[in-house]
């Protein structure tokens, strides 16, 4: 019996997005990344025709020394935690980060209440320290982000950064400035595909180009809701393949933060669960690899050993 053909052709594919601008394009990056482009479900079809671009890892750099990170994670950054530029350099040079994501935790009113000037300085320092493309991620307090992120966007003008996140009830200010400064935008939704679609429509209605958007569907860690993020990722990909242009963007996930919060990643002194030093990085890597099955294109991560595991996985599948 001949093996039947499986249909390969879909109406849509994931948009290809290039982040970072080199001197040629008016920036100072020494490398860029291009993501997206998948033309099928993950692992369906043939690798050469369907898989799209290789997913990338954006390593987190905080604008303030973390106070609540588990020891195993903190130990990796003890020497650079107070210095975002050195921290970013370490991630790129030692840990092989494809991108850096500056997370402006420190500007949050409850976590340091740093000013726009502080955030601009961190942005400039990191841009000067590393050549990879940069994502700039607000503190997720709307009022504060609306004050700080426009200044950050402006400071990085010309670098073609990825800025976020904008949400259904707070998108105008940041979308406008991201558009003006020529960056890419992250649209966020709380594990709800209809809201995700709605934000993309609101943002594009303001004139923001759909092909410069990356979606963030919210992330659940392994054991703590990853199945919701997983299924929303798969549904986004199916909508994309069916030709829905309002969902055809690449997807970013926040794996580092979510996975290092959970008990299994950080609890020490439970030998029957294996060494905490193994478990934390494995939990983070597994959360990432799971979401890669659902179609993630950019993964935000924290632990170098987890990054190495995920890179090794990505290289086996996408090379």
């Amino acid at each position: 019996m001949a093996i039947p053909q499986v249909a390969q052709n879909f109406a849509g594919s994931v948009t290809e997005v290039t982040l970072g601008a080199t001197a040629e394009n008016g920036g100072t990056r020494t490398s860029t990344v291009t993501i997206g482009g998948a033309k099928n479900i993950v692992h369906a079809g043939t690798p050469a025709d369907s898989a799209g671009r290789k997913p990338v890892i954006a390593m987190d750099v905080l604008d303030v020394a973390p106070t609540d990170w588990p020891d195993e994670l903190m130990a990796q950054y003890a020497d650079v935690a107070d210095d975002p530029a050195a921290w970013a350099k370490k991630c790129v040079e030692q840990f092989g980060a494809d991108m850096i994501c500056i997370k402006f935790d420190g500007v949050h009113p409850d976590k340091g209440d740093k000013t726009a000037e502080d955030a601009v300085k961190v942005t400039k320092d990191v841009l000067a320290a590393v050549g990879v493309p940069i994502a700039l991620w607000g503190c997720e307090n709307n009022d504060k982000d609306n004050k700080v992120m426009p200044a950050v966007s402006q400071a990085a003008k010309g670098e073609n950064c990825l800025i976020g996140i904008v949400e259904e009830d707070n998108y105008k200010a940041l979308t406008a400035i991201t558009l003006a400064d020529g960056h890419h935008l992250i649209t966020g939704a709380p594990l709800d595909i209809n809201i995700a679609k709605q934000v993309n429509i609101l943002v594009t209605d303001m004139g923001f180009p759909a092909e410069k958007i990356v979606t963030f569907q919210s992330t659940g860690a392994l054991g703590y809701g990853i199945e919701y993020a997983y299924s929303i990722g798969e549904r986004q990909r199916l909508a994309t393949l069916a030709g829905d242009k309002t969902m055809a963007m690449p997807m970013i996930c926040d794996v580092g933060y979510e996975s290092w919060r959970v008990k299994e990643a950080k609890l020490e002194g439970v030998p029957e669960w294996g060494e905490a030093a193994d478990r934390g990085p494995m939990w983070e890597a597994t959360t990432a690899i799971c979401l890669l099955q659902a179609g993630a294109d950019i993964i935000r991560m924290r632990h170098p050993r987890a990054v190495a595991m995920v890179k090794s996985y990505i290289n086996q599948i996408w090379d």
């Binding site: 199945e227 294996g274 890669l292």
Partner: protein
Amino acid sequence: MALTGLDIFKLLPKTNCKKCGMPTCLAFAMQLAQKRAELDACPEVSEESKNTLAAAAAPPMKLVKFGTGETEVQVGQETAMFRHEEKFHNPSVLAPTIYDDLTDDQLAARIQAVNSLQFERVGEQIGIKAVTIINKSGAADTFASVATKVAASVKLALILCSENPGAIKAALGSTASQVPLIAAATLENVDKMAAIAKENKCPIVAKGASLEDLETLTEKIKAAGVEDIVLSLDTDSLKENLYSLSQMRTLALKKAFRPLGYPSLTALIGGDDDSQIAATSLICKYSGIVVLDTVNPAVYLTLLTVIMNIYSDPQKPVQVEPKLYSIGETTENSPVIFTTNFSLTYYTVESDVEASRVPCHILVVDTEGTSVLTAYSGDKLNDKAVADAITKSGIEDIVSHKKLIIPGYVAVMSGKLEEATGWETMVGPRESSMLPKYLQEVWG
């Protein structure tokens, strides 16, 4: 794939002889399609049509069982490509390796390590369900003796791994009653292996380098009278495995292609512990059995959690029991927080309370497994529900204060809640992640 009445009609004699009790063959076909009649009622139908109809009624992917009694496991019979369409039915089985060239001490240690790969997490027992015994020594009697030892010291289903029919036969001598999965039949040994599987009533793995080879193998094995088959692609490439697994699942489910309508086994052999984490992709994307080369508990806790999550029912919000949970060394002065019984919400709050190191009572309100905001907008979280939870939990006898921390998102409930309960409400943070800071500042 279910046949329509018209499909069935085409297979009937079309003589309208009425022996089935129906006026016409078409009427009988319609009854059959709706499962209101049995095919046996028609004495005239051809053998060929009977077989076609029986095959169409079978599930697109075969259910395969191995092990016996308490150790029996089942894989396959999946019906969906995506978990949001329909719950995946039979969770992937993890099966660590044991090689037959170990010394007695090494073997004992390995068995002990394998036996410890059982865990409790979020109130559920999870663990490995099988073990893979590998004939690395090449000797049939060594393999048989190690298989006998392992079989006697584990409560797990067995996978016997050798391409030498003599070794499999020898190992089955003492283990056949435990219904091991035989791994594997290849193009070279298929006749002998299939005969052994048939004789011992064991399921068998078909191992081939391509889908075409696998198809050839399953047809031969079936012809030898063995129905329970597991597919395994003979490659070290994870990429090739994943693309083939997706293709096989699609062919079975969407094309009703019977020769590949079986569950799959994939082995990640060699490499360090970190490399085994790639098994995550095999669990998500369609491998029913995953053979792993490590016994590091951290790897298993992680991968078993993947199985737990990916095979969970997408229609059913996972719930925790609505009651009082005390975290840490609580006293009568410890703070009381309420949240909903959506397990994701609860475990997030629990995790953040633990992180705060402030002992707390968490009062779980029954909101039918919905999150705080959803429950509030659906009126499943209201002053009455919280008052009920307070009464049922007996918290008033446990703490000496009457202060209740409420989720920041439902701050508007405060007034009514105070009236309904007589407790003073304190508005906590909106995001659970801010709980440690809040608790340390307000109660620390």
